[in-house]
């Protein structure tokens, strides 16, 4: 009946690149003969609809069984003759369709609308544009075209809102929980909220806050990097505000989140404007991995429950919100897809027909039972920690959401404080990497908490979703159809589903460690190191201070300034420099270029000949002694491999002059001359921060070097523009901020150390006689 009625029909689908959409495409292709599918796909970036059809849909493993059964070429032919991608965007007027698209849409028999912004952290206006205005635009377009295909709209059970008791398969207006919603006004309000929030984010005190935050995160990498970071933070802030607005508005009207809220409005809106377009609404509950087809446990992307389950398996989450006797309403994706197809195959009804696809009413799984399954599963198949020890799952005690959240919040706050404190300490290298670890842990907690907050709402929502319509449809269909389109929730064996299907999928998808491996930090670093030392690289650029040597410009000056002084004069210089230190440090933190400009004034009037002579002594007695042998070795390795080597430093040219033969080239600022003396003024902008990146780009251009094939070594976030300019950045003895960034971006981190017993003076002093 289903098969026959849909045979040879033309069906348009929105949201085909999504989890449910992909399952739909696969199911229709597999079970309905000669079905013509028109997939409305939004071009993403430079990727066209056609490209996305190939990459995002047909490369998915959902089609593996079908390809295997048909053979690659038959499958290809089938796809070619039965499927067409139509470029469309439901958030734009007329769906942004071109002429061909319009033609295709207007003669469709069925349109399945499954496109939605399902992410729980969707900003209010975006949720409204996509979830609410999307279907409105679709219906309006159809009306304009005078087309009246059977529209099957995918909604959600949670449109019923956060209420206890039975939720019937009826239009919301007929539901006992009905809250009249003015969808037009809500949309306008959402748009206004966006405009207001955008304005708010540009208020000077907010912009200042963002900038401070950017500086706190990055240090002083230069204006443009800070600027783009600030903008990033502003955008994130706006998004957070909009997400919050969505959540708040949804909660105020009794919905768990903006998704359910906007979907509820969409149902009403579409019914209101549909005219004579026949409409079916399918409301699934929480969609999870498949029960049987295309393969048991098939899933696309990470859903809501997975992160919670994984965090539980990993031991980060010890408790779960909700009550043991509560029902968790989940439904495998293949059942939902089948129900949708079944609904679509019905003779277009005059009245809106509604099907709820949910398990709670006819085959409920209780949270306590689910918890036991999960607990058993991870007891038997534990996730391993970094030392390959199994992590023992803890037994849930259901302390209520409040306490779980408090626990998490407390842990998070503690981590945050520790992280902040550590950021302020002058630590580098290995110890700095600890801070990076902390950040990772905090992010994990963050995520777990967000899921808990959200999932908690779903779990605490004790509504029972009626499935009478669904089951009577099931009664009507033939055995053949039942085979092809199983959508009866009663067929699910929950123990088998959780234990044998869902959890193994989650574990595989989550790429957690379940068998002992040596995927340690060391092996990751050695892989990265191999990339860095690949003969294909073209240029290796090095920073000087704390990358090649454990020293800085102040130290060099200290040496040169005191080399020819008597002991008492020397003491005076030390005292004076120490007094200036706090100011200088503060300036350095604000802007390194200013600091250097200011600091180099100290060289004013220094005799050129003498400084040049003393610089060589300094190099031998001081700089080389404080050098990192492995760093110098690294420069040599790059040269041996045929890479060009370049030193870019803010240190003065006479200081680094003796390093010349080590590199192919050195770019360092020089001081202008006044007769026989140095003027204390730099002849050019020192290569620091973004200037360094600019100098590097110019250098690469002049030498026809591809920076994406180049390596850069640096130790601090002030070198961020340079590190970001190359394809293979390496953080050397990173300070905490860079350590965190390097960890986040998967950069190679090297710990180059001076030899034990090398001089460790705060301010090195030159002596005319070496002892």
């Amino acid at each position: 009946m289903i098969k026959e009625s849909l045979e040879g029909k033309k069906i348009a689908i929105t949201g085909a690149t999504g989890f449910l959409g992909t399952a739909l495409v696969e199911l229709l292709l597999r079970e309905v003969k000669d079905v013509q599918l028109r997939l409305l796909i939004r071009p993403a970036g430079r990727r066209s609809a056609q490209k996305r059809l190939e990459r995002d849909i047909f490369r998915n493993d959902a089609f593996k069984t079908l390809k295997d059964n048909l053979g690659e070429s038959t499958f290809e032919a089938m796809v070619k003759s039965q499927i067409e991608a139509i470029s469309a965007d439901i958030s734009k007027p007329n769906l942004d369709l071109d002429e061909d698209g319009i033609k295709e849409i207007s003669n469709c028999d069925v349109i399945i609308h499954s496109a939605a912004a399902v992410s729980f952290d969707e900003p209010l206006d975006r949720a409204a544009e996509v979830n609410l205005m999307g279907p409105v635009r679709l219906v309006e377009t159809l009306k304009e075209l005078n087309a009246s295909p059977h529209v099957v709209m995918v909604s959600t059970c949670y449109v019923a809102g956060n209420r206890k008791g039975k939720a019937p398969e009826k239009p919301l207006s007929q539901s006992p929980f009905y809250v009249p919603l003015n969808w037009r006004e809500e949309t306008e309000a959402a748009r206004r909220t966006r405009a207001y929030t955008e304005d708010d984010s540009r208020r000077s005190e907010n912009l200042e806050k963002f900038r401070t935050e950017a500086k706190e995160e990055l240090g002083a990498p230069g204006i443009s990097v800070i600027a783009s970071k600030t903008e990033q933070i502003r955008e994130r802030w706006v998004k957070e505000k909009m997400v919050e607005a969505g959540r708040e508005r949804a909660t105020s009207l009794g919905f768990p989140d903006a998704y359910a809220f906007t979907k509820a409005m969409a149902e009403q809106a579409v019914q209101e404007i549909r005219g004579n377009i026949p409409l079916s609404i399918v409301r699934p509950s929480i969609i999870e991995s498949s029960w049987q087809a295309p393969t048991p446990g098939w899933i696309r992307g990470f859903r809501m429950a997975e992160p919670i389950i994984l965090n539980f398996g990993r031991g980060t989450l010890k408790e779960f919100p909700g009550i043991p006797e509560g029902i968790i309403d989940i439904i495998p994706v293949d059942l939902v897809a089948s129900a949708i197809v079944a609904a679509a195959s019905q003779t277009p009804p005059k009245e809106t027909q509604i099907f709820q696809v949910a398990s709670g009413a006819c085959n409920p799984i209780r949270i306590g039972i689910l918890a036991d399954y999960v607990h058993d599963y991870f007891g038997k198949f534990p996730i391993l920690d970094e030392k390959n020890q199994p992590i023992t799952p803890s037994k849930w005690e259901f302390p209520g959401r409040g306490r779980v959240v408090t626990q998490l919040t407390r842990a998070k706050r503690l981590l945050k404080i520790t992280e902040r404190t550590l950021h302020k300490l002058p630590i580098r290298g290995t110890s700095a990497m600890i801070v990076a670890d902390l950040e990772e842990r905090r992010n994990e907690l963050d995520k777990a908490m967000e899921y808990i907050t959200l999932y908690g709402k779903y779990v605490e929502c004790e509504a029972i979703y009626d499935v009478t319509n669904l089951l009577s449809l099931w009664e009507k269909i033939t055995d053949t159809d039942r085979q092809a389109f199983p959508f009866d929730p009663r067929i699910i064996n929950w123990e088998k589903y959780v234990y044998d299907i869902h959890l193994p999928t989650v574990v595989t998808q989550g790429r957690v460690k379940t068998s002992p491996t040596s995927t340690s930090v060391d092996s990751r670093y050695s892989r990265l190191r191999k990339q860095v030392l690949d003969p294909k690289r073209q240029l290796a650029v090095f920073d000087l201070e704390n990358t090649l040597i454990a020293s800085n410009v102040v130290a060099s000056w200290g040496y040169l300034a005191t080399k020819r002084l008597s002991p008492s004069e020397r003491a005076r210089v030390i005292a004076k420099t120490l007094l200036e230190a706090p100011n200088m440090l503060a300036m350095d933190r604000r802007d390194r270029t200013d600091f250097l400009r200011n600091f180099y004034r100290k060289y004013e009037g220094a005799p050129i000949a003498q400084i040049d002579e003393d610089s060589l002594d300094m190099f031998n007695e001081f700089i080389l002694n404080k050098s990192f042998p492995s760093a110098i070795r690294r420069v040599r390795e790059h040269r041996t491999l045929g890479h060009r080597t370049l030193l870019i430093t803010g240190a003065l040219d006479f200081v680094v002059q003796p390093l010349k033969p080590l590199f192919d080239e050195i770019l360092a600022p020089s001081l202008s001359h006044e007769g026989e003396n140095y003027s204390g003024k730099m002849s050019q902008v020192p290569p620091i921060g973004e200037t360094r990146a600019a100098v590097l780009r110019e250098y690469a251009e002049n030498h026809e070097i591809d920076l994406s094939e180049s390596v850069a070594y640096a130790d601090s976030t002030s070198d961020l523009p340079m590190l970001e300019a190359v394809g293979f950045p390496v953080a050397v003895n990173p300070e905490t901020k860079l350590a965190t960034l390097a960890r986040r971006r998967g950069w190679l981190v090297e710990n180059f150390q001076p030899i034990s017993g090398s001089p460790k003076k705060i301010l090195p002093l030159g002596t005319s006689k070496e002892s």
Binding site: R633, P658, I755, E770, S771
Partner: protein
């Protein structure tokens, strides 16, 4: 005090270890170990006690200058007004540890300068004959020649380090019948007379090696500083049987035939390395003769060392200056002088040893010729043990062919960034690929020798020449060819393995490892040095 110094010092000793033998001292880098050797099959070779020093060394020096050996006129007869005089002297690698002031070089140079001044010579240069070693710092030069000499010559730039990479500063003299190129410092070559001031610490030093090597460069040195020559030098401490020396002597003949005049002054010192009394005196005593005070001092020292930072420990050890006494001065024609000198060296060092051993043990000290005021890196550990100590024999090697050497040293994976830059690359790049001296010499030696960065550091900083780590490895060639295994007790495992040796945590473990090749009850000989001893094995 005085009773510690013997009027008739006892010669070296070979002690058979029995149950009553107290634990034996092993040097262990900047530390010491006391080890029990298996009784019944172990023996310990002790160096001879220090020979009496000269009562009036300054007078002895003057006498030697005026009563030269061989066919040389007295020094005063060789000096004349208006001449060019070059005084070349041994560098920081001699003696070891550095000697207390005044250094012999200072005494000899002052005497030579006095004679030169009397003859009206005013064009005098002083050159540290360091070949491809690192340059000496001002402080080190001052220590060697004394402040008075340094201050007199430094302002005019007449005292300096030899620079074998100065294209303007080196000249080719010719080629030996064996095809070996001869090269020398240009100033020395153009001088009317070269006076060479040597310290003959071990029998390898001196003779033509002073000028033909010390004032030479890579072009000439590669003809004898290579694996082929070193394998044929059995040992390089025994001139009669050393291909290294034969090659140097051939080069010396070319120098002589070209008209270059060398007045050689050689000196010897006794075995008073650690003093008759003082904090380290027990190190040159035999363990069963340690007094209560010696034991207490030793324990205290070990405790102190443990608590010191790396930096403090290194400073303390490198600060030790030996109270050597001068035992002889010879001057005149190179070969005649050196014959006499060698006899005097042997008098102090040779110890008669009967028969070879399966296992040779040695405790490696904190210093070797190439890490004065520096770090003893793994390559230098290998060189000290397998180059120097292993070759301290005349006749037959102490250890049988196919035997095992067990040495103790922490062997840290650490390199001095100023002194040993090319060692870092050598260790990382060359040794990770091959430990075969011949293979590495063919594949890598030239590139290291001609590397611009190393050349720059050798000439302007204080780095050993780029090729130097190769020479260190070649020095081990004879031992590596002779032995079946080398085990380093207490060494950093990765560093030890990189060199193709086996790390062990205790002597017992080392003997267990050695049993693979020498069985479970091998004969063991402990080479108890420093102070220096040379085994005369029959």
């Amino acid at each position: 005090m005085a009773n510690n110094r013997r009027k008739h010092p006892r010669p070296g000793l070979v002690l058979e270890v029995d149950r009553t033998t107290p634990p034996t001292l092993f040097h262990h880098g900047e530390n010491f170990k006391l080890e029990k050797l298996p009784p019944g099959r172990s023996r310990i070779i002790y160096p001879a006690e220090p020979l009496p020093g000269m009562v009036n060394p300054n007078q002895a020096i003057r006498d030697a200058l005026e009563n030269p050996l061989g066919d040389s006129p007295p020094l005063s007869a060789l000096l004349f007004s208006g001449m060019k005089l070059t005084i070349a002297f041994d560098d920081i690698s001699l003696p070891l540890p550095p000697m207390r002031k005044p250094d012999i070089r200072q005494r000899v140079i002052e005497a030579v300068l006095d004679t030169a001044a009397a003859a009206g010579v005013d064009d005098v240069h002083l050159i540290a004959a360091l070949a491809l070693h690192r340059r000496m710092t001002e402080a080190e030069l001052r220590h060697a020649v004394g402040d008075r000499v340094y201050d007199a010559f430094s302002p005019s730039g007449a005292i300096y380090n030899h620079d074998a990479e100065d294209p303007e500063g080196m000249v080719s003299i010719g080629t030996t019948p064996h095809g070996e190129e001869v090269q020398i410092n240009k100033r020395a070559a153009e001088s009317d007379l070269i006076v060479y001031v040597n310290i003959n610490l071990v029998s390898m030093d001196g003779g033509w090696k002073s000028t033909a090597t010390g004032l030479s460069g890579y072009t000439a040195l590669r003809h004898h500083h290579n694996p082929q020559t070193m394998v044929k030098s059995k040992s390089f401490m025994d001139q009669e049987n050393s291909e290294l020396h034969k090659s140097n002597w051939r080069q010396g003949k070319v120098l002589k035939d070209s008209g270059i005049k060398v007045f050689q002054i050689e000196t010897t010192v006794n075995n008073n390395t650690f003093g008759y009394d003082g904090p380290l005196a027990m190190l040159q005593k035999r363990e069963w003769e340690w007094t209560l005070k010696d034991r207490a001092l030793f324990l205290g020292m070990q405790g102190g060392i443990k608590r010191m930072s790396t930096q403090a420990r290194r400073k303390a050890f490198m600060g030790w200056e030996s109270p050597y006494e001068i035992t002889s001065v010879q001057a005149g024609e190179v070969e005649a002088v050196h014959k006499q000198t060698t006899e005097n060296v042997y008098k102090q060092h040779l110890v008669k040893v009967d028969g070879q051993t399966d296992v040779l043990t040695m405790g490696l000290p904190y210093i070797c010729p190439y890490n004065v005021n520096s770090v003893m890196n793994p390559i230098l550990v290998a060189c000290l043990g397998l180059g120097y100590f292993f070759n301290m024999y005349k006749g037959k090697p102490l250890v049988k062919k196919g035997g095992v050497v067990i040495m103790t040293h922490p062997t840290p994976w650490e390199f001095h960034p100023v002194h040993h830059p090319s060692y870092i690359d050598f260790f990382d790049r060359v040794l990770s690929e091959t430990t075969d001296a011949v293979e590495m010499s063919q594949k890598y030696e030239k590139a290291f020798a001609e590397d611009e960065w190393y050349r720059h550091l050798y000439r302007t900083s204080y780095a050993y020449h780029g090729v130097h780590p190769f020479y260190m490895w070649y020095w081990c060639s004879h031992a590596l060819e002779h032995l079946s295994q080398v085990i380093i007790v207490g060494g950093q495992p990765e560093a030890v393995r990189r060199m193709g040796f086996r790390p062990a945590s205790t002597i017992q473990d080392a003997l267990e490892i050695a049993s693979d090749t020498v069985g479970f009850s091998p004969s063991i000989t402990h080479y108890h040095s420093p102070p220096i001893l040379m085994a005369d094995v029959t």
